[in-house]
Symmetry: C2
Subunit: 353 residues, 2 copies
Amino acid sequence: MTFANLDELLAAVTPTDPPMRAVAQERLDSLTKPPGSLGRLEELAAQVACVQGDPKPALGGKAIVLMAADHGVTAQGVSPFPREVTTQMVFNFLAGGAAINQLAKHAGARLTLVDIGVDHEFDAHPDLVAAKVARGTADFSQGPAMTREEATAAILVGADIAAALVADGVGIVGTGDMGIGNTTAAAAITAALTGADPVAVVGPGTGLDAAGVSRKAEFVATALRVNAVDASDPLGVLAAVGGLEIAGLVGVLLGAAASGACCVADGFISGAAALVASRMAPALADHLFPSHLSAEPGARIQLEALGLTPVLELDMRLGEGTGAALAIEIVEAACACMSGMATFAEAGVSGAE
Amino acid sequence: MTFANLDELLAAVTPTDPPMRAVAQERLDSLTKPPGSLGRLEELAAQVACVQGDPKPALGGKAIVLMAADHGVTAQGVSPFPREVTTQMVFNFLAGGAAINQLAKHAGARLTLVDIGVDHEFDAHPDLVAAKVARGTADFSQGPAMTREEATAAILVGADIAAALVADGVGIVGTGDMGIGNTTAAAAITAALTGADPVAVVGPGTGLDAAGVSRKAEFVATALRVNAVDASDPLGVLAAVGGLEIAGLVGVLLGAAASGACCVADGFISGAAALVASRMAPALADHLFPSHLSAEPGARIQLEALGLTPVLELDMRLGEGTGAALAIEIVEAACACMSGMATFAEAGVSGAE
């Protein structure tokens, strides 16, 4: 294992070099365009420059890590889709038939699929990382979803996968999730860590009606009370009301940052992972890129808590890493401008008068 | 020439087949994802499906047509950059040093650069289409920027270029512009065709201060009065207060649509071209894709008038086709999902209960 334990992982997440920010801005302002006219692209490229310590940043390899797991809460009817869909979708990912297969390919990103907690024993498959911590979580309206040890184990699985990708030339790692029931877990984490009302953070997920959303909010409120969650203990919150794929994605984000790479949080599920990860290691912020504003209502609360402005607002709510894959394309395009453009001096173009 | 005259071009812009919309929606709802969960991607892919008459759409080749021209209004100090920058930037495009060079390459789009009205005699160059209609426009605060014949000639240049690209396998054509002074022309067209107050449509362009923006608004108001513009005569508006590159881009949009392809309007300058084109041929709407919301304030007014919701909001205001290139990537990713994903039946995934 790259990281012997959680403390070692967290200690390895460090801020980027502050002087590079000024160097990056100077280069951006020297390029053949009105200052600032590439808008958000300039911010994104400058952030990559700071992560890489290079005013001509290049992402190199790109990856999406998609973690799949099952949830005990599915026994409570929090999703219109049956629990078996988690397993069925893993087979769909392996066959290349899901949205993320198309979008990762379009972005030129490799897709690493991880069984970190699916309630099914898969045969060995070259495209499936077998890293099951448990066959799904427990119903967290009755007690904790998992133990702190299980949550920690899942984090370290994710961190090691991210570190291995970075060692193999990947410069940006996006997160993706699959797990029927996981918007309930993500909502519970978001409410626990931000203090937001459960009613404000729950949403239709894969398609609940208004009555279903209302029941889901009550369920989350009950879970927060039963588990006596403590916002100052992010690992405890994750273990109590999280999911194994969410814990794995906490590790992916931390592991990418600890390895000196960029990371991109996808939508609402990944946003919950980003919240937990940033509470554990605030320096994650320097490495973390937003992707899109999920249509799930709690996503906005997560992004505000993280201080992130989404790159894309496309009304998506699928998960799987679909928003991260699209955002990686934008970040890469931003780097292409910053690295490939000529300066006013190089091109012999007159500046503003 | 593909189009003998303007009437022939406009007649060739026809609505897409209405029944395909339902076929496209049926396919989207059969794919392995909660219905609607790909948000805007589903709308974009469905629109391409309608243009192509195929529920498994694929863009094929992609192109950005970048039209460059000079403007008589530069004599009035409407830009902080000197007029020579138009010519200098053409050389920068040819050398590959501008933002659009990087972004077109990133999108896998070919870049067609056209001198349709630059105030410089370029030597022949394999990457520069020599199609100069005039060496820039006249100062439209004194009278029309160009004649109706010049505007028509520029439109037909653009239409022929787009048609040739489509004949060569391009399925989507984005527009781009270069022309110091052209935000003034775009603002004048926008005010003339939408009835918006000049104060609401002018902005800093490449970097005017507040006093400069105020003078620019007065200048636009004067130009609209001097030229007695008539919103019901879009060609007249284009000739009176437009620019040669804007006229050329009107032709690019119309020519792509007339050839059965998709077209993407870039930012504020291209938005003015899209307004003119859609007034000339309302069926353009079926073929036209928005790209981004330019930071230039009049862009929002244009998009509202066109009934378009931008795909991207990245605070960009560079032109050149930079926003179109990014949007083409998103549209292509949307098509990849619609065409490449498995259906619930194909993947053996259970649907919602």
